[in-house]
Every structure is written in structure tokens, then in C-alpha cells.
Symmetry: C2
Subunit: 377 residues, 2 copies
Amino acid sequence: MKKLLSLLAVACLTVAAFAQQALGPGTGLVSPEINPDHTVTFRLYAPKAVTVQLAGDFLPRVVDLQESPGGIWTYTTQALEGELYSYSFIVDGRRAMDPSNVHQNRDVATWTNIFTLSAEQGDKGWYYEVHSVPHGTVSHVWYNSPTLGTQRRMTVYTPAGYEDNPKAKYPVLYLLHGSGGDEDAWSDLGRTAQILDNLIAEGKAKPMIVVMPNGVWFNQAAPGAAVNMFQPTFQNSRSQSTVEVENSFPDIMDFIEKHYRVAKGYANTAVAGLSMGGRQSCALSMRYPKRFGYVGLFSGVATPEDNEAALDAVFAAHPKLYWIGCGKDDGIMVNSKKLKDYCDAKGYPATLYESDGGHIWRNWRIYLTIFVQQLFK
Amino acid sequence: MKKLLSLLAVACLTVAAFAQQALGPGTGLVSPEINPDHTVTFRLYAPKAVTVQLAGDFLPRVVDLQESPGGIWTYTTQALEGELYSYSFIVDGRRAMDPSNVHQNRDVATWTNIFTLSAEQGDKGWYYEVHSVPHGTVSHVWYNSPTLGTQRRMTVYTPAGYEDNPKAKYPVLYLLHGSGGDEDAWSDLGRTAQILDNLIAEGKAKPMIVVMPNGVWFNQAAPGAAVNMFQPTFQNSRSQSTVEVENSFPDIMDFIEKHYRVAKGYANTAVAGLSMGGRQSCALSMRYPKRFGYVGLFSGVATPEDNEAALDAVFAAHPKLYWIGCGKDDGIMVNSKKLKDYCDAKGYPATLYESDGGHIWRNWRIYLTIFVQQLFK
């Protein structure tokens, strides 16, 4: 019995030590530190490391940190423009999170440290940050999908003032994520709430509801909110099928129109998505051509070849905006241009916005920022 | 110009490579794997590592993983009981996340991998998992606090059925986090939504609204939702002052009672909290003795010495439940017992629940599970 008690005491001490470690005072280092000249300094305490490197989407290549006496490794970037940036350390060849920075994003199955930098109000980084403006509500809501025979989760943004104006009705943007993503992708990686809060506060976007469902039709919810502790993957062609999303999409719209104060109808309803979600948005606009007065296709389109009649039906309804965004280095540009060329040949008013870069979240935040300013006006 | 273009091309390729890395197919390993006999196997691919260790709150001490040919390190635990567990790898002396497991929790400033294990329906782990039961909504809401002169963020759980029963009114539990925590702590670390969903589905808890405000009075919101990208700390005595929370608490209750369908009054209102939040709950019950018919003090109490008259006023209102929970190894037990002894001496019906272990989230999830089953009945 005495032995058992002492074992238990050790166990309790060790459990307490594990918990205490988690609650420790942090590293005492500031990393990343955004300097007044918009250079950024990274620091890591790693006295036993042989090499410490930094990989980030603001760097042309992996760079080496320099060790100071005391085991603190440091690297300072050149001046950066306003943006949300991602990075990881690489310590002796192994990817490592920055223990001084609690800010992380999960993209599919990978966690990465992030930071935002804004050089001035109105630059990209500024729109992705939280400012002292009225804030909307972000809700994680479960709905029933009779078509798919299951409960599913969605994220819903309601703009500031929604709760205090009980008679106001709001237009709706349905916003779809990419392959391997989930209903948290647009709110977390896409900074939807921050972008909308800031644009609405500036008067540049109309107050609107943004509905971000889970677009992988056989998943109920994001990791951690789903019934098992599944590990997401980039998925396969089965997940990228749009037909189940098309079939079940009225379940989502019915739920939203029943539970939120929605300004219904063509002129008050938009659909947009990135990558797989762009293809889904394209398919949804063709399947229900009189429901979506605004269509946004971000790095994901259907090609016109097999869809001419459906595309003709979309434009026969005279959409108020048909907006295609794609990066110049994105393989999707070929099909984006085909779609734009088809529209031009037919005299359909489609916009093709060509950005720098490729198939990356940086572009999708830019497209969202541009797109929502043109909605419901 | 040609040089600039080629530099840009390199930059774009490398940015794309960084993004692609983040979207990679994962490690291909399963870790942790919960085996049919409830042992758990951990795996890490680290061919260059010299030592790989595992620290977890299910282990009495740090253990060594064994390397197999091919660079995969493995460790299998003994059979574990149903619970939510936390762990980290330690590779060559440095703490490392498990790249095969997307599931993580943030406690103050530290991210840790987690997993749940349930041996059978109704064990602790089972209550912390998502099951095929009706799910409530979790919303991140901003409210105005005139007392503190700022907008602040709170997390609100509304039970399944709330949206579909527009005339129903619901009792409210105000649930407060500990030092260094924020309005996400109870929903993320505390598994509030899962516990409530499961207990309500079983008929063991009444459908209720759970309001989880930010209890650090000078913080507006959790990291990432606040105006700057601050790094949270365990805080200091200034943050642990209860008086600002007491002063401004009516702002929270006013907002909730205005914006949600609340069954008001003493018999429909509970307050509970952990550690600092326990002291705040204790103080709130004394400050507003006729508002909270149910009081839960989890590893945090006020001592009776300076509060006798206030405690007498609390019990003069005949609370339906005055529940103290504390771990046997927790330093707070001394004061918890003082409070219980005072109540006993006065004939006040207070409950002291003594659990194993110390000042840890494992206990606070247990206390919440026990406490909410006794509310509003």
C-alpha cells in the first residue's frame, strides 16, 4: 500500500509538472517582433541546436538564423508589406513551431505559425487584423441535411448590429472552402470575420451574413468537432465531386433562411468559393441559375466545354456580378481564361481578376476582400 | 528587368513550395493509435534523431520511444481509462508536436497535442467526445461593457433545439475561466459543448445556455481575436483582481438577457468558475446574493475570514446548490475546506467534492460534468 501511495504521489507530481509546464511563463523571448521599419525579427532559444532555419511565405528560400552567446538564434527580414504571413522554424532539420508565438493556423493537417503586419490603414494586413470597429458574431451551427441523411456543421458570420436590429434583413454570401478544408477554413485561414468587420466599418461592404458550410460532402464537421478524431487529408476525387454538394445545397439555404433574418432572392444571394469551392460555386450557379445573383470563382472554375447550355442559363438570368479570380502562376489559370473567353465570345459580362502568385490562401483573402465590396449594391 | 523577373519567379516557386508543404499528405503514420485493448501507440518519423521521448499527463514520467529500422520511433502505453489526454514529443531534448495529429489545445500560451479515449458510453472520455446526438451552437459574440468602456468578446453555448423552439426560454450558467485564460478556454480545454450536448441528450442535464466571458478584465478577447497579436501569460495579481469583474458583470448579464431567450431569476441562474474564475464566482455570489441560485467553485474560493457577512447573505437567499470542488493535491484545498467548515458550522448546505489530483483541467472537466447535472432541477 505504501508503495502504491508513493507511486501515486510520483504520478501526481509528474502530472502536475506536465500541467505546470504547459502553464509556464513562456520563453521570455519576443518572436516574431515587428520592428518600426517593418522588418521582422525572429528569435528562438535553442542552445543545443546545430542549425536553426526559418521557412516562411515571405522569404524566397529557407534562411539560417545566427546564434548569439546564450543560445538565442536570431534572424531579421527585410521590410515587409502589410500581409498575413506564415512561417516555421527548422531545427537540426526538423520543422518546429515558434514557442514564443501562440498564433497558429491549421491548413488541412498542418499547423503553421502566423503573424500579421500592417504598414498603414487599408493595406492588406490591416484588413486581416482586428481593429476597434464593431464586430460581427461567428457561430458554429449544426444543421440537418435530409439529402445527405446527417447532421452537419457550418460557420456563420452575422454582421455587427444583427442582434440589435431585430427587424433588419440581411443578404447572404455562401462561401465555400477548398479540397481538404472544412467549415473553419474561411473563418480561420481566410480571416472572413476580420475582413468583413473592417470593410463594413469603412462603409466599403454592405452588412451581410456569410455562411461557410463544410464542402466535403461525406464529412460532418472539422477535426475536433466531428464524431471521430479523424486526421484530414488533401482528399481525393471522391471528395471533390460537386454533385452531392449541389444536391444537398438547398438543405443549407433552407436552414439559413429559416433561422436567420435573410433578405431572400437573386439580388440578395451570392455564392463564392476557392479551388474545389470555386468549382462547386460554378456548378451551383449553373444548377440553380436563378438563385445566385453574384458568383465568385476563386482559383476554381468549371470549363465551358461541357457546360455551355448551363452557362448560357446562368447569364440569361443576368447576374449582377460574375467574378473570376486566379493567380498568374496557378495551373487553374488555363481554365479560368477559357471560361472568360467563352463569356467574352458570348458577350456575357464576366470579370477575370489576375493576381500575382499561385494557388495560395494569400490570394483567396485578396479575392474575398475585392469580391465582397461589390456585393448587394 | 530580366534579373528582377527571375528573382520573382524564384520567389513564387518558393512561396508555392512553402504552401504546398503545408498541404502535403501528412506523415502517413497513425499517431496516436488507440488500440482495441485501450493501449495507445505513438509514432514519430525522425530518422536523424538521437533520442525521442514522450511526455504526457497519462504517464508517471517521461518515457523513451524505440526506433525501428526506417527511422520510425514507437511507444505503446498501458491500457488507459476513458479521458482526454495531452502529450508532447521531446526530440533530442526539444519539445515537438506530433505531426500526425492535428488535434491540439492551447492552454494560456502553450499548444499541446490531445486525444480522447472512451472505453464505454458514459465514461469521462465519452462525455468529452462528439457523438451522434443533437448539437448545440457555439457562438463568439462581442458585447459592449459600459462599465469597462470597451467591447469585449464572449463564447455562448445555446443547446440543441434553441433555434427551433422560438418561444422556449432557457436557464443560464455563467462559466468563468482561470488565470491566463480567456473566453475560449472552457469551450476548447473544458469541452463544454461536448459535455452539455451529451448530458442533455441523455436527459442528465437540462437544456441551458452557457455563457463563457473573458474574465481578465483588461483583455478584450482571446489571442487572435484581440486588437493586437498579444502573447498571453499566466498573468499577475492585477489580472486576478475580482472587483472589476464584479463591477462589470451586470453588463454581461444585461447583454445575455437582452439578446437570448433567457429564463430569468434566481432559480434559473448559475455561476461557476475554475481557479481565478472560482474566486470570481465566489465574489459574484456575495456581491449579488439574490441573482445566482446555483454556485460552483472549482479549485478556487474566497476564504470566509473577511467574508462572513457576505457569505451569510448568500445563504440567507437559500441557494439551491453551493458546490465546491477541489483536488486532494491542490493547494487550494486548505481554503476550500475552510469555506466548507464555515458553512458546516453555520448549518449552510454546501457540498465539498474532493477529487484526486491537483490544479488541472482534467479535474475541471469532471467538476463541470458533475455540476451541470444538478442545475435547474
